[in-house]
């Protein structure tokens, strides 16, 4: 008896093979999602020390003298804040002057731009809330430059990558269960014959589980090869590589990536065992 699962003539059939192909595609997407999440995390780590920049506009407007006086008052309060890094004065002509020259700036000032050291999480919203409380009469908003926008994007990408990876791994596990069910249907007569001949319900269950796990492993290998090929492709395209820094993945990241197929295989085996046991419960 050649090519049989655990010595029993049970196989996945054509639909099982197609299912394995679909599993490979899902696993590929799962690993790719995780690669994106890792890339996004690296980007966040690299930019975590960037200062938080806010623009502060006085409540008064029109009267240059009142605006200047109000800005002086705001400056005094800002200087009391320990993590203030720098303040600039913006004029109507879109010129920015360092704050010590506020008194001597000829053009009417309109707002202050202050930068603060980032807090632990690097969240600007916390900083804005503190400032809004300290300066209730002023209008405070975050200055979102390209780097800050990139941080938000990276944060969302990291979350989406992990979430998508997890969902896809669960989907693969469910498909492994479906593979066991398909094997059972494809080999319904064979299963009954084998059990009738005394092959043993547990042995047949394990064989069906083995078929599903084998399909998962085949799908994993296929997906891993596709992921490696994709990563090589990304590193050769500078525009992509700039957005997705995937070169030089560390050992921790590689271990994380390797857990995806392992987790899928483990969950797949559990799912397949559950399905096979349920299908064969009638004989037990």
């Amino acid at each position: 008896m050649s090519g049989r699962a655990r010595g029993l003539p049970l196989g996945p059939g054509v639909f099982g093979r197609l299912l394995a192909l679909a599993m490979a595609v899902l696993l590929y997407l799962a690993m790719l999602a995780l690669v994106l999440a890792v890339g996004a995390d690296r980007r966040l780590t690299a930019t975590a020390s960037l200062p938080v920049v806010v623009a502060i506009e006085p409540a008064a407007s029109g009267d240059a003298g009142r605006v200047r006086a109000e800005l002086q008052l705001i400056l005094l309060r800002l200087r009391a804040m320990p993590d203030l890094l720098a303040v600039a004065v913006d004029t109507e002509h879109e010129q920015a002057w360092p704050e010590p020259w506020l008194a001597s700036v000829a053009a009417p000032p309109v707002r202050l731009t202050a930068s603060f050291a980032p807090d632990g999480a690097g969240e600007a919203s916390t900083r804005l809330a503190v400032l809004a409380a300290a300066l209730p009469e002023a209008r405070v908003r975050e200055v979102v430059d390209e780097v800050a926008a990139g941080q938000d994007w990276a944060r969302e990408l990291r979350f989406a990558g992990v979430a998508l990876g997890a969902v896809l791994v669960l989907a693969v596990a469910a498909m492994a269960g479906a593979a066991a069910r398909l094997t059972c249907r494809h080999c319904r007569n064979t299963v009954e014959v084998l059990i009738g001949l005394g092959a043993g319900v547990m042995r047949v269950t394990r064989a069906m589980e083995g078929v599903a796990v084998r399909l998962t492993i085949e799908a994993t290998l296929l997906a891993a090869a596709a992921v490696l090929a994709s990563l090589l492709l990304v590193t050769r395209l500078p525009a992509l590589e700039a957005r997705l820094p995937v070169t030089g993945l560390g050992a921790a990241e590689l271990v994380l990536l390797a857990t995806v197929p392992l987790l899928a295989a483990l969950l797949g085996a559990l799912s397949a065992r559950l399905v096979a046991s349920r299908q064969l419960r009638v004989y037990a």
Partner: protein, 233 residues
């Protein structure tokens, strides 16, 4: 029945239902002695196959008791049921040969599953197949055989382990009278070594040619056994 004769199967008030549907078997009392041969006849849908499947441990009774080889199957663990199944030969009406295996591998499968050494298993199966006239076809796939030849392979697979109980569901439906007679002779030989045989059939001719007690089933209920009639002249 003589109490000194060993009983391989005994059903008392046995019933069977699939899911929540109505009973397909009701209140079945049946005894199969070692070395006995009985026909089971009845119209389509009467419950012949269900009764064989119940005896073959493909289902649990929904009521009553099923005792095989002296053991109440309701009290058995999964492993014990597996072991009991090895003592039962089953010829399925739809044959259920495994086309991915050769004729020889199909016939030797029960021996291999029972852990018999490979050379011994194939040797034994080869000899049986040769006796059934399939000696030249052992290496081909069953899918290349005629239905009659496939039926003989299914019979070989069922008897190769010399079971204590043989359940045959229309085993001669595709066979010409000569081959059917050959198969019946094989079954008779088995009874001599203690196998209890229950053979379900539609064929009045088969029943007429081979005198044996006849069990009649209708609407899932078994009528009392009818004594064997002498063979028609």
């Amino acid at each position: 029945m003589d109490s000194s004769v060993a009983v391989v199967a005994r059903l008392r008030g046995a019933a069977l239902r699939y899911g929540t549907a109505a009973d397909v078997l009701s209140d079945v009392d049946l005894t199969i002695a070692a070395g006995s041969f009985q026909f089971l006849i009845g119209p389509s849908g009467a419950g012949k196959t269900s009764l064989l499947r119940l005896l073959g441990l493909a289902h649990r009774p929904s009521a009553g008791s099923v005792v095989l080889f002296g053991r109440d199957v309701a009290a058995l663990s999964t492993e014990q049921r597996d072991r009991l199944r090895r003592r039962i030969g089953f010829i399925y009406q739809d044959l259920r040969l495994i086309d991915e295996l050769s004729v020889l591998d199909n016939a030797a499968l029960p021996l291999r599953l029972a852990g018999v050494e490979d050379a011994k298993a194939t040797g034994h199966a080869r000899m049986l197949l040769a006796w059934l006239g399939l000696g030249e076809l052992v290496e081909v796939s069953p899918s290349r055989l005629s239905m009659g030849q496939r039926q003989l392979v299914a019979a070989a697979r069922a008897v190769v382990c010399r079971p204590g109980l043989l359940l045959a569901d229309e085993p001669t439906s595709y066979l010409d009278p000569d081959l059917a007679a050959r198969l019946m002779r094989l079954f008779r030989e088995l009874t001599k070594v203690g196998t209890g045989v229950l053979l379900a059939t539609h064929s009045r001719e088969l029943v007429a040619r081979h005198p044996a007690p006849v069990l009649r089933i209708a609407a899932g209920r078994l009528a009392p056994p009818v004594a064997a009639k002498p063979m028609a002249a």
